[in-house]
């Protein structure tokens, strides 16, 4: 039996239990000792690269693991809770294209609540990638092999033991005793422990970007996964109460960033389209708490829609500045925008302004940012007005220019509620009569005296009340059977759900006996595909 306890894209923590045995995954064990059937699989080798015909003839399901092979028939599915092994997975680690293709094939074929074993594959230098690919169980074979070869393993790579074992680079028991085997095993165990904490913290992606630099093939694996955006996105939390670091060149392609960009273009609805002003970002988040933005806002005085151009998020409409990851990202700043980010960001700008036709667009940017906006707007068929002059958008001249440019435009406050609801739930809500009340940390959306939403401080997400859900057009609904939830809703209780649901999303639970509000613990695919685990953490239940 296997239950996933936390998801970070394909990476997850879980618990596998069978009789006396309990494994907290990801973990490394002596698999053959724990699963003795592994020792009785003589002559059963089927290389990963074998074709369907060969698999059909020679692949036998035997022993304690369900054996998954990229070419085995589509119809052959592991059961929920099973232990799944992908034999010889170590042979594809240097073949990124097939690595990613096969993970996608196999992972979408079998239920999510299965424990995946990658035999002979795990090294301290690659196990982050393996875990981030959805593997849960590992053995000591690869590190022990290195030991037999006189190779010292650490989280950066593999090195000659004669230099490293006494080189002072590690203070473990193995190193102190000069015991290479012990060191290598500890190194692997420690690395897995590190990854587990990263999953729990929600920073596995940052770690993965770092660890991928260990080898070209690991970088390529990361990039191929990123091209298959939907795969990881579907199980990536919608928000986290922590910073998101976009330190690497690959960060711009991480699921959270692409998702944000896509929602700004496809879901988000601006509440005025007479005039927009594109502003620079600020290191301080939310932007409006920075000195520079206080200046811009003072000059604009609600006479245009404020949209922030930033790397790597592209465009952040003012209404969304507090929501994850807009209020949470941190990025290395040098003043230089590389061509790749220019390209990706420019495309978002183009798409946004092609979709949302403003009558006038003001560009209050300088340097590379101004060029990106100019080129993108041109492609969208817009001739903007540039308001930043001289050396900086915050200079006295620039601010005066901006102020003058706004002359005559009507004042209209940003509709934060409509903006956020469109972004978060993909609905266009009539927000007349709705107002935000309360001090930071305890903000609520009210209509008359009825609370519709509370605003979560750490993430910026809106948490609907039952009354709030009435405005959301049935989106983000989880359908359950005819029971009244006692505590959280488990996956088997779910009979259907909005495919857009991601871990961490606010959801509306609906059954014939009760309705409830809560937060999704898993994505829609897992809710439907799993037989174990908490699907929705319930906040409030109402019998009907």
């Amino acid at each position: 039996m296997f239950e996933v306890t936390k998801r970070e894209g394909p990476a997850r923590t879980g618990v596998f239990s069978e009789g006396e045995l309990t494994l907290n995954t990801p973990c490394v064990i002596d698999t053959i000792e724990t699963f003795p059937s592994l020792g009785t699989m003589a002559y059963s080798n089927i290389p990963l690269y074998a074709d369907g015909e060969f698999c059909g003839r020679f692949l036998e399901q035997q022993g304690e693991f369900f054996i998954s092979h990229p070419a085995s028939p589509e119809s052959l599915k592991a059961g929920s809770g099973a232990a799944v092994m992908v034999p010889n997975w170590h042979t594809v680690i240097t073949d990124p294209r097939n690595y990613v293709k096969w993970i996608l094939d196999m992972k979408t074929r079998h239920p999510p609540d299965t424990m995946w074993y990658a035999p002979a594959s795990a090294l301290p230098s690659n196990v982050a990638t393996l875990i981030a690919s959805g593997f849960d169980l590992f053995d000591y074979i690869a590190v022990d092999l290195k030991t037999s070869q006189g190779i010292f393993c650490n989280p950066d790579g593999e090195y000659p033991a004669d230099e490293y074992l006494n080189g002072g680079t590690c203070g473990c028991e193995g190193c102190l005793k000069g015991d290479l085997k012990l060191h290598n095993r500890i190194a692997l165990e420690s690395e897995i422990a590190k990854v587990i904490l990263r999953i729990k913290e929600g920073t596995i992606r940052e770690y993965l970007e770092k660890q991928s630099l260990n080898a070209p093939n690991l970088v390529s694996i990361l990039r191929f996964f990123d091209r298959e955006h939907k795969f990881a996105e579907s199980s990536t939390p919608v928000a986290r109460p922590i910073r998101l670091y976009t330190n690497s060149g690959d960060s711009i392609n991480r699921p959270e960033i692409k998702r944000f960009m896509q929602r700004v273009v496809s879901r988000y609805i601006p509440s005025r389209t007479d005039a927009a002003v594109i502003l620079p970002c600020s290191a301080r988040k939310p932007y409006s708490s920075s000195q520079s933005h206080r200046k811009y806002m003072g000059a604009i005085r609600d006479r245009a829609h404020e949209i922030i151009l930033t790397s790597p998020l592209a465009l952040v409409p003012r209404e969304l500045e507090g929501v994850y990851p807009a209020g949470h990202y941190d990025v290395p700043v040098t003043g230089y925008w590389d061509m790749e980010e220019r390209n990706i960001i420019g495309k978002v700008v183009e798409d946004y302004f092609t979709k949302n036709r403003y009558e006038q667009v003001f560009v209050h940017l300088d340097g590379d940012a101004a060029i990106i906006a100019k080129d993108a707007l041109e492609r969208a068929g817009i001739e903007p007005i540039f308001t930043a002059t001289g050396n900086s958008p915050t200079s006295h001249d620039s601010i005066r220019n901006l102020e003058q440019a706004m002359a005559g435009l009507p004042r209209k406050s940003h509709n934060y509620i409509r903006g956020m609801l469109s972004w978060q739930f993909g609905v266009d809500v009539d927000t007349s009569g709705m107002i935000i009340k309360g001090r930071f940390g305890n903000r609520k959306v009210l209509k008359k005296k009825t609370q519709l939403f509370s605003i979560e401080n750490e993430t910026g997400l809106y948490r609907p009340t039952f009354e709030g859900w009435e405005h959301l057009a049935g989106r983000y609904t989880v359908s359950i059977d005819d029971f009244v939830p006692q505590g959280d809703i488990l996956a088997p209780g779910v009979i259907g759900c909005d495919p857009e649901i991601r871990p961490g999303d606010e959801v509306f639970v609906k059954g014939s006996k009760a309705i409830a509000t809560g937060r999704a613990s898993m994505g829609s695919e897992e809710m439907i595909g799993s037989k174990r685990g908490v699907a929705v953490k319930v906040r409030k239940v109402k019998k009907i």
Binding site: Y43, P47, A142, L145
Partner: protein
């Protein structure tokens, strides 16, 4: 005697071979023929070394022409032993037309001849004919039929080699062979596809012991990575590794079947052939070759007992390489 039309065989070379405890001069010839009719073995790279024509007359002329090239280019009188290979079966009449076959046998009827065939072509009719053609000019056998049994395990032979026949087929053919006073030379194949290093060793040890009762000579081939084969397909993808030389020696030293098992580790020390780490390969290949010829067990044993940095790795592989996690090295 020498004809005008002379075609060079696919290959030919001279050497020394050990037969019945004696070392004798030997000429090996590989004829280009119509090619193996089975032609499916996963490791076989001879598939493409054949005439496109299947016309029997054309084939006959070509083969006889190759025979003439041999007569013209070697002092054939010097050699006591002639080893004949085709890319398939010498006794397959589709591949080697009967008259061509007979011409060859007649030409070498004063020598010991070893030729290779698949067991399905060994039958009373053909053997009777062959035995009659071979003069009996000295005591002892004057011809041997060599057959690629590869392994005595039918399952392995099917999955890992796709040989298309059984141990039983081999035994039947061997009995027929013996009936006509000929010797049986058995070819075994060490580490075909899909076997772990340990499985390969065990299979080979068992195969030697089980095939010995039906064999006069046993030659162990070690699987190599030949062009455009299934083996190469997997090898290029890191899914196949040729045997360690340590494994080869282990089999040779630790299998006592009463027959001296010979082994020519073709491609030994190369990536595509049986190899160790690169440091010890040259010496070990040399020791294996020496053993094949001189049957000097002690010399081979001494080499097996020398140490090299890769020996630990090999021992580790034997204990830890599993069918679901292999190959562990390359």
């Amino acid at each position: 005697m020498i004809l005008d039309h002379q075609e060079k065989p696919l290959a030919s070379w001279t050497g020394k071979d050990r037969i019945d405890g004696k070392i004798i001069d030997c000429l090996t010839i590989i004829f280009k023929t119509g090619g193996c009719s089975w032609n499916r073995c996963l490791m076989c790279g001879y598939k493409f070394e054949r005439h496109d024509h299947k016309d029997p007359l054309f084939l006959k002329n070509s083969i006889i022409s190759q025979l003439n090239w041999i007569s013209n280019n070697y002092e054939t009188g010097k050699f006591r032993l002639i080893k004949i290979f085709t890319s398939g079966s010498f006794l397959d009449p589709v591949e080697v037309p009967e008259d061509a076959r007979n011409e060859i046998l007649v030409r070498f009827s004063d020598k010991i001849v070893i030729f290779e065939t698949r067991p399905e072509y060994v039958n009373d009719k053909v053997l009777d004919e062959v035995a009659n053609l071979m003069k009996q000019n000295e005591p002892g056998r004057n011809f041997y039929i060599s057959m690629g049994l590869e392994t005595t395990n039918d399952k392995i032979r099917e999955k890992c080699i796709d040989k298309g026949n059984t141990f039983n087929d081999f035994r039947n053919a061997a009995e027929i062979t013996k009936k006509y006073g000929a010797g049986v030379k058995t070819y075994l194949m060490m580490k075909p596809l899909f076997l772990s290093e340990k499985e390969a060793i065990e299979d080979m040890k068992k195969s030697i012991l089980e095939s010995a009762p039906y064999s006069d000579l046993i030659s162990m081939n070690v699987c190599t990575v030949q062009s455009k084969t299934e083996v190469e397909y997997y090898w290029k993808r890191g899914a196949y590794r040729p045997a360690y030389l340590w494994s080869v020696i282990d089999v040779l030293l630790n299998t006592d079947c009463g027959i001296h098992v010979t082994c020519d580790p073709v491609g030994g020390g190369k990536k595509r052939g049986p190899h160790n780490c690169g440091a010890c390969d040259y010496d070990l290949v040399d020791a294996i070759n020496n053993y094949s010829l001189n049957a000097d067990r002690e010399y081979l044993k001494a080499h097996f007992e020398t140490d090299c940095k890769c020996k630990n790795e090999w021992k580790f592989i034997l204990e830890n390489e599993r069918p679901y996690g292999m190959p562990l090295t390359s």
